[in-house]
């Protein structure tokens, strides 16, 4: 199994993500520069967080025109796993691999804190490690994380079980207080219809080691466990 971590100018969570795959999950992982146009040797792709191209014009939009994105679209057609974290999520949206848009946070501030999330769909290759409706903790750190789709698209996401994680308060309610950025319907993570592309604003790679967590939780690694386990099953077929 070989995992690719895509690097754009301005990516800054690549090393953290690499550490999780190489040191904790013990899988082969490689950095791939955004000018590459071939991903055929890889089994999964991670678009890590950061500020690609300094968020010029709109977060993720310039990176979405990189050569590697066409390779990523071909990769997605083969139903291979792609996970975009924070700026990676923004790039997936701007590449139209995921629907919607990520707007400036409703409070006009860069928000950096740990949040509670509810696993809305655990029948997905990135969340099948968790029990349905589990409450998990991860940090967020972003300025443009207000996920938006119109009502028609929101109904479609609901019908297709594409809403994977929601921001909730400490007791698991999808309240305004539990929503750190004003995302529509408290959405923190969505997948494509096929379920092989996931975008999320929280940082699972920063919630994978107890020493890095305020409450020693390691919920973030659950997403990567799910992905690796699903891939192992797939590769054995």
């Amino acid at each position: 199994m070989n995992v690719a971590i895509i690097q754009f100018p301005g990516t800054n969570c690549d090393i953290d993500t690499h550490r999780v795959f190489s040191n904790l999950l013990k899988v082969d992982v490689s950095f791939v520069w955004h000018k590459e146009n071939d991903l055929t040797n890889f089994d999964a792709v991670v678009l890590p967080g950061g500020f690609s191209y300094g968020d010029r014009l709109r977060a993720g939009v310039i990176a979405a025109h990189s050569p590697v994105i066409q390779a990523l679209k071909n990769f997605s057609l083969k139903r291979k796993p792609i996970i975009g974290i924070c700026n990676g999520f923004q790039i997936l949206v701007e590449s139209e691999l995921l629907p919607g848009a990520l707007l400036k946070n409703s409070n006009q501030k860069f928000v950096c804190k740990w949040v509670t999330l509810k696993v809305e769909n655990n029948n997905n290759i990135f969340t099948n490690y968790f029990k349905s409706n589990s409450l998990i903790r991860m940090p967020i750190a972003h300025n443009e994380g207000r996920y938006y789709v119109d009502n028609e698209k929101l109904d479609e996401l609901e019908r297709n079980n594409q809403i994977i994680l929601r921001y909730v308060n400490s007791i698991g309610n999808t309240s305004i207080q539990g929503n750190p950025n004003g995302s529509v319907s408290n959405i923190a993570a969505v997948s494509n219809v096929e379920g092989n592309v996931l975008g999320l604003m929280p940082h699972p790679e920063r919630a994978s080691e107890a020493i890095l967590s305020p409450d020693s939780s390691t919920d973030g690694i659950g997403l990567f466990y799910s992905m690796i386990h699903s891939l192992e099953v797939l590769l054995k077929k």
Binding site: L57, V61, A101, Q108, G182
Partner: protein
Amino acid sequence: MEAVYEFKIDVLIANKPDIKDPEGETILQDLFLRNNYDDVTSVRTAKVLQLKIKARNVNEAKKRALLLCDELRIYNPSVSICEIRSSD
């Protein structure tokens, strides 16, 4: 051969009216209304790209601007509108 000129074209990118605009609301509430400019009833923020485009006439330049904005996804059509204006 028809002459080619350089035209100044403004590309205005604004969020659709039903999209909440916290920056505009802050400018309205904490700048205009707080300072008693009560005749201001709404503020919406937008981004303007000022392009210079070579074309035979202004209409051709505007058409070209719209085409490249669509092709390069200069605006996200799920949340934004794009208006092309000539500033010449």
